[in-house]
């Protein structure tokens, strides 16, 4: 695991959408933000490029403060923030038409209907999306004449999401877009994020759901204590540090030294308890084939063979010593 200060994006990752060449959509350098005596953001560096960037961290890590500084809501106490090359506070008039914002909650007149509010936000833009198509796409058609305060939590979230994209922005900020949603609604939101990405819209999303980051993000920045403690593609982050693990059961007392010779140099192998074997290394189809063919040569039937992939959850735990949703 590399600890990146300042972070470098995408090194060695699979090429995606030419993002290596693209200009950063967000550049945060040495950002500090305090509320009274509490330091919410403490010298944070973050570079986000085209595609989907997940800002991952536990509650109180500084995610929302960082994103809201990018949106122009907060002035940095020190450090610099550039979004699409612009200063979010001084150049707000230029920046705001180009970004879409989904707040963590609220943002709608309590007496407004969903379609009314969405049409209103659309009218503030020069080339908005077709509102009816968007309502259809997000399943908001059933809201009818219901006012905002009487919509379900899921409907309110989807309306906020629709309001963030209706102006056809280049960059969308989603602050915990699936918090509190049921699984089906979550998938709907994920599909929309994937569609945005496919159509060339960049997305910065904060989340404390690991699977969300793994599913959606080209790039993940892990935040803790107001700093970015690691950044990279999900694959890079999961590959580093503790290696992936392959386990199998066989008869006790196999010649582990012989197995080790058959494996690539950077692997290790051990008999943990009699008959229970563990191989640690870069687990790929080739390694699996090597292990099973060594077993075949030695007349061993590997049982309960399993591959454990390192998840972002493990990475987070290793980096911070904390559960993400603690």
């Amino acid at each position: 695991m590399e600890i990146l200060h300042p972070p470098v994006c995408g090194a060695g990752g699979e090429p995606r959408l030419g993002r290596m060449r693209s200009e950063p959509v967000v550049q945060v350098h040495a950002l500090v933000k305090r509320y009274g005596t509490k330091t919410a953001v403490d010298g944070l560096d973050l570079v986000a490029r085209a595609g989907v960037t997940a800002v991952l961290g536990p509650n109180g890590a500084g995610k929302t403060t960082t994103v809201e500084t990018c949106e122009g809501y907060r002035r940095p106490d020190s450090g610099t923030v550039r979004v699409l090359g612009l200063d979010p506070v001084r150049q707000a008039r230029e920046l705001h038409p180009r970004i879409g914002v989904m707040l963590q909650s609220g943002g709608v007149y309590s007496g407004a209907r969903a379609d009314e509010m969405l049409r209103h936000v659309a009218k503030l833009h020069a080339h908005p999306l077709d509102v009816d198509a968007l309502i259809e796409r997000l399943g908001l058609g059933g809201c009818g004449r219901t006012t905002y305060r009487r919509l379900s939590g899921g409907q309110q979230q989807r309306l906020a999401l629709a309001m963030a994209v209706v102006g056809r922005p280049e960059l969308v900020f989603l602050d915990e877009p699936t918090a509190g949603l049921d699984p089906q609604a979550r998938r709907g939101t994920w599909d929309l994020v994937r569609d945005l990405r496919a159509d060339g819209v960049s997305v910065i999303l904060t989340t404390h759901y690991m699977d969300e980051a793994e599913q959606l993000a080209d790039d993940v920045a892990i935040i803790d204590g107001g700093r970015v403690i690691a950044q990279g593609t999900p694959e890079e982050l999961c590959r580093g540090g503790a290696e992936n693990t392959l386990r199998f059961m066989g008869r006790p007392g196999l010649d582990v030294g012989s197995l080790l010779k058959a494996l690539p140099a950077d692997c290790s192998a051990a008999e943990l308890t009699p008959g229970s074997y563990r191989v640690v290394g870069k687990v790929n189809p080739q390694l699996l084939a090597t292990v099973t063919s060594w077993c075949a040569q030695h007349g061993v039937m590997p049982e309960k063979i399993s591959v454990e992939r390192h998840t972002l959850e493990d990475v987070f735990l290793e980096l911070t010593g904390k559960e993400l949703r603690a």
């Binding site: 503030l124 056809r168 569609d195 159509d199």
Partner: protein, 256 residues
Amino acid sequence: MTATGMYTPKPGAAPLGRMIATQAVLETKMLLRNGEQLLLTVVIPTLVLVLFSSVDIIDTDEGKAVDFLTPGVLALAVMSTAFTGQAIATGFERRYGVLKRLASSPLPRWGLMTAKTASVLVTEFLQVILLTVIAFALGWSPHGNPLSVLLLLILGTAAFSGLGLLMAGTLKAEATLAAANLVFLLLLVGGAVMVPLSKFPSGAQDVLGLLPITALSDGLRDVLQHGAGVPWGDLGILAVWAVAGLALAGRFFRWE
């Protein structure tokens, strides 16, 4: 995941005039849809006018009751919309993140404030139409220069808007709700709306005379009931309140 082209970026702000107009229309719709707001802006002024014109409860000095009451009720209408209604609505918009969300939209903040003002003026226009129609039906016979009336209404709106926004932008939404209603009630009674200032002790009169509601009621009454020219004194009081209120609101208003 396939590129549909549906979301292909094509950003841009709508023309400024269109943004402000659409915002003003929405603000007005929200206000007219809100039952509590209609109670303040329509029902109470109408009741005061109808009830106290037809039933001889209060001593309105010389002349017909409706001639005394209508200027006061017009002042009350301005206060209910520009101060009470605007303070409560804006307080809750702030609380529910509406102001915050709009602050990152292409509409600039001053554009939002302009739209709010336009919405207040449209609502007041509707109130004045309604109340004058009712007053005429009750036998009202106004005097004076309409331009003086317009000037008083506009300065009164500015004064009450400044105070309403100052309250909405600094207090919690619930505190704004309570305080704005309390102030409405106190000024309704003590601000020469339906009780002549001469009924109060002379020491109280001096203080009450400096309130924006008193200046607006008395100014309108001087013109509409007594046919006075330009009530400079009352306009001056309103101008001071307007400048102070708007300046303080501009300085201390918090958007979230």
